[in-house]
């Protein structure tokens, strides 16, 4: 083989080799830590017990990103939703409920996470607050106060799409303190294949209660990070485009919200970036949208469905 040929072969092979090494490192990263722990124990630097502990923690840390599977997320979401529906009264108007579910489930179909374990479901909260909550897995709540900030169906769709964004990006689960999950894995509580004893169920339920507390206090009191809100707004724009709505509806809704929002309020005023900041952030990411010009049919059904709001 000529020298130039071997150079060529090398040219082609090197990226492949680098790729292989990178993928091997990703796959084996955890093993390196656990092997180091074993070596540490063998050389007497640490005890075997300590080594086992380090191994477990390393495995746990590796898994914290994915240990909450869609079925577990579903049970977390149900309980978060239960806490919300016990704090707020539900608005019982079948036509309005059916309407936001039809719109919301249509929007969810074109999101980045169209299917969750239990699916997407929506309720209106009988509250004047400007508020909305998305429980993990797709149980979504919108207040009457927030729906009053929507002058068009496109604007209402924007509100639902933003909440679907929080679900699709799993923001709720991110609010759970990592230490809770890590400890539950390290102690084997989240491990599958064993039948848990009563005391283990009790211990796991305590972890569960803590996780629910982390999520509900984030949703109700502290709010998500600005980065998460921006991500949900951007996600909403994409969902609206895919579904055939005008994303300008989101900006219109934020402008109305700005006017209606009471400073110091215990709702979006407390948990979300100011509407103005959200508008600026959306404008930075997208070129401007045409004004919302809904068809008469769409406008009419929106008015009809939410007449009592």
């Amino acid at each position: 083989m000529k020298k130039s040929d071997s150079k060529k072969t090398g040219f082609i092979l090197y990226p492949v080799i680098v790729l292989a090494l990178v993928s091997m490192t990703i796959m084996q990263g955890c093993q390196v830590v656990t092997t180091a722990a074993k070596v540490g124990a063998m050389t007497g630097v640490i005890t075997e017990g300590q080594a086992a502990g380090i191994e477990k923690t390393a495995v746990a840390a590796e898994k914290t990103q994915e240990e909450i599977t869609p079925s577990q997320e579903y049970y977390v979401g149900r309980t978060v939703a239960a806490v919300i529906t016990n704090k707020y009264k539900v608005y019982q108007q079948d036509r309005a409920t059916q309407y936001i579910n039809t719109m919301g489930q249509t929007l969810a179909t074109v999101s980045d996470l169209p299917e969750t374990f239990g699916g997407y479901h929506f309720l209106i909260l009988d509250s004047d607050e400007i508020n909305a909550f998305a429980a993990p897995g797709g149980l979504i709540f919108i207040s009457r106060g927030l729906l009053r900030c929507c002058k068009t169906e496109d604007a209402a769709a924007a509100v639902l799409a933003h909440e679907i964004g929080h679900v699709a990006y799993r923001h709720g689960l991110n609010a759970i303190k990592k230490s809770r999950i890590t400890s539950a894995i390290t102690t084997g509580l989240l491990e599958a294949g064993k039948n848990l004893t009563n005391s283990q169920v009790a211990e796991l339920t305590t972890v569960f209660e803590g996780s629910i507390q982390d999520i509900t206090s984030t949703l109700i009191n502290s709010g998500y990070s600005r980065a998460f809100e921006t991500q949900a707004d951007k996600g909403a724009v994409e969902i609206l485009k895919r579904a055939g709505y005008n994303p300008q509806g989101l900006l219109d809704m934020l402008q109305t919200m700005e006017k209606h929002m009471k400073p110091g309020g215990l709702d979006f005023a407390k948990t979300h970036p100011a509407p103005k900041a959200r508008i600026e952030s959306i404008n930075e990411s997208f070129s401007s949208f045409p004004p919302v010009d809904e068809s008469l049919k769409r406008q009419a059904r929106f008015r009809r469905a939410l007449a009592g709001i």
């Binding site: 898994k63 240990e67 577990q72 239960a82 529906t85 479901h121 989240l190 599958a192 629910i212």
Partner: protein
């Protein structure tokens, strides 16, 4: 010298290719990770529904397109398209004797699911927090809009979709 380089490169590429083949093979079998999902004739939600799959069902992936996977059900052999969001690379095993098997247990060395936050934990939570009612949660979960109704809604509202997944 050159020969040695070639041999080393060739060996490394064989290792690399075989590990990729191994990875590809591992990804070829997947599990349904949602409670229930529809198998469609084409890779989109407008596609005709030809069957359904439930939590834990194993499938072999034969093709993929725009967020959809063409699968063959291990049980029964039905072939059709499932949205990727309904599928997991992890194996989900059912725990024998569990009440409501479809919504519980799953396991494998990679996976920790059913034994974690599950109906048993929810029951214990309810015991401890009797003041928290799940009545509305149970009610809202029953509100399901069919694909036909969604299409009617889009058409009646004169929505002009860019097309999604």
């Amino acid at each position: 010298m050159i020969k040695r380089k070639i041999i080393i490169s060739a060996f490394t590429s064989i290792v690399c290719i075989s590990s990729f083949i191994a990875l590809a093979y591992a990804a070829a079998n997947m599990s349904v990770q949602v409670r229930e999902t529809q198998i469609r004739a084409t890779p989109d939600y407008f596609g005709k529904i030809i069957g359904k799959a439930s939590y834990g069902d194993r499938v072999a992936v034969e093709d993929k397109k725009d967020g959809w996977k063409k699968v063959r059900l291990k049980k029964g052999g039905l072939t059709g398209w499932l949205n990727s969001s309904a599928l997991s690379e992890k194996e989900i095993k059912m725990a024998a004797g569990e009440r409501g098997v479809k919504e519980t247990a799953s396991s494998s060395e990679l996976q920790l699911a059913g034994k974690g936050f599950n109906p048993e934990v929810e029951r214990e939570f309810k015991n401890r927090n009797k003041e928290i009612s799940f009545q509305w949660v149970d009610r809202m979960e029953k509100i399901n809009i069919s694909q036909v109704e969604k299409q009617k809604f889009a058409k009646a509202g004169e929505l002009t979709p860019e097309g999604g997944r």
